[in-house]
């Protein structure tokens, strides 16, 4: 009988376990996590304030309930220290454990820049419910936040914080919000609406140092200006967790490398979610994770299935200015063809041959996303 071990109980680990149990009630299933195994949805972190949620109320189910629902063992606060691919065995706090199939759903970690200054060690990042709890605790006293990075998370958090009359400073190296995901006209409108809601923009700028200033922090920017704030939140991107895979001798690049069956370079070891690079694509967001979980669940229950990625647009949770982006999944030189109206922006991203390879929609036009994504070639067809 199969003995399946899943390392990680984020959206990837729990979604895979749920999809597997829809097809296979017999296999022994163990999930191992270094945290408390609470089930929650990470995308919901970036609009929790507006929705009146706290770190606690974001929990959908605790590990005990998940173990019952999934007919699985869930080992919480447990660290996996090694994987022996040949022996089909892992080493963890509970000793050596055999598996027939091992799945790495170990996610990604925020990229951290070592800034100068005696306050730099207080920079927060948020990529888990635990991180979010720390951030919300800091928000109780500190009503000013400086966010580094005006990407998806930075803009979503800025919108959510501004809905609570919290002073937000948003710093980014690029000349516009959401960088290459949006054409200029749409980025400017988003920047305007967030500014109207109290967000102070520092574009074409960067943090040089973070100094302690009494109980507050004084952030020195590249242009020499200083911003006094209470909390500095870094949101400049994620890097897949690959160390555990490298130590086990598995191929890694921008993520743990897997084929279309989500299998790594070692037999019977798979990976999915933010830690995985499927062929040449590292896509740390929800829709690819869901497609991968369904395909891998089928494969693990005996029905070998490849993962397919259609064009997968991303909804940007900025209620002040609804946005959907569908970037080209691979870096391709191209240009925007913008159509601006009072309903919003509809923009195609075209390659140099004029082929439509991506799009962006804002305002009321976001409802066209299904139709538009049908015109984009599959990312992994």
């Amino acid at each position: 009988m199969n003995k399946i071990i899943i390392i990680g109980t984020g959206l990837a680990g729990y979604t895979l376990a749920r999809e597997l149990r829809k097809r296979d009630q017999e296999s022994e299933l163990i999930l191992i996590t270094h945290d408390d195994g609470s089930s929650y949805s990470k995308p919901m972190l970036s609009n929790a304030l507006d929705k009146g949620k706290t770190a606690d109320t974001l929990v959908m189910a605790d590990a005990t309930k998940m173990a019952i629902d999934l007919n699985a063992e869930i080992w919480t606060q447990t660290t996996v220290s090694a994987i022996d691919a040949d022996k089909h065995q892992i080493q963890c706090d509970r000793g050596a454990v055999d598996y027939t199939h091992l799945v790495m759903a170990i996610g990604a970690s925020p990229i951290k820049i070592p800034f100068a200054g005696d306050g730099a060690d207080q920079i927060l990042t948020v990529n888990s419910l635990q991180d979010y709890g720390v951030f919300r605790q800091a928000l109780v006293a500190g009503r000013r936040v400086l966010i580094i990075g005006a990407g998806l998370i930075g803009c979503e958090f800025a919108n959510d914080l501004s809905s609570q009359a919290i002073t937000v400073d948003l710093v980014d190296l690029a000349p516009q919000a959401l960088g290459r995901l949006l054409p200029a006209a749409a980025a400017q409108e988003l920047q305007q609406r967030l500014a109207d809601a109290g967000v102070n923009w520092h574009l074409d700028n960067a943090v040089a140092a973070v100094h302690q200033a009494g109980k507050a922090l004084s952030v020195e920017l590249k242009d020499g200006s200083r911003v006094e704030t209470d909390i500095v939140l870094s949101a400049i991107g994620l890097r897949a967790n690959t160390t555990m895979a490298k130590d086990a001798g598995l191929d890694t690049e921008r993520g743990i490398k897997v084929d279309r069956y989500l299998q790594t370079s070692a037999q019977d070891i798979y990976a999915l979610g933010d830690c995985a690079q499927v062929e040449d694509l590292h896509l740390p967001f929800v829709m690819p994770l869901m497609n991968a979980a369904r395909a891998l669940a089928a494969t693990l229950s005996g029905d070998k299935t490849t993962v397919n990625y259609p064009a997968m647009p991303v909804v940007v949770k900025t209620p002040l200015y609804p946005i959907v982006v569908c970037p080209s999944p691979r870096p391709v030189d191209g240009s925007w063809e913008e159509d601006v109206s009072d309903q919003g922006v509809r923009a195609w991203y075209k390659d140099e041959q004029g082929k439509r390879i991506g799009f962006a929609l804002t305002g009321e036009l976001v409802k066209e996303r299904m139709a538009m994504s049908k015109e984009i070639p599959d990312w992994l067809g």
Binding site: L11, P43, M44, K51, M287, M290, V315, R369, M370
Partner: protein, 54 residues
């Protein structure tokens, strides 16, 4: 009128509006949506939605 919220990404299905661009006519009740329907924003299954009375 009943609404259903995706537990993963917060997408709201509003019975009154339906999803015309997906061929789900306005007024279509939640139970009448096919079981293999997926959330348009994140592809999670129907079973991952919660009924929200608004």
């Amino acid at each position: 009128m009943k609404q259903w919220q995706c537990l993963v990404c917060g997408f709201i299905y509003d019975q009154q509006q339906g999803l015309p661009e997906e061929g789900i006519a306005p007024g279509t009740a939640w139970d009448d949506i096919p079981d293999d329907w997926l959330c348009p924003d994140c592809n999670v299954g129907k079973s991952d939605f919660d009924m929200v009375e608004i």
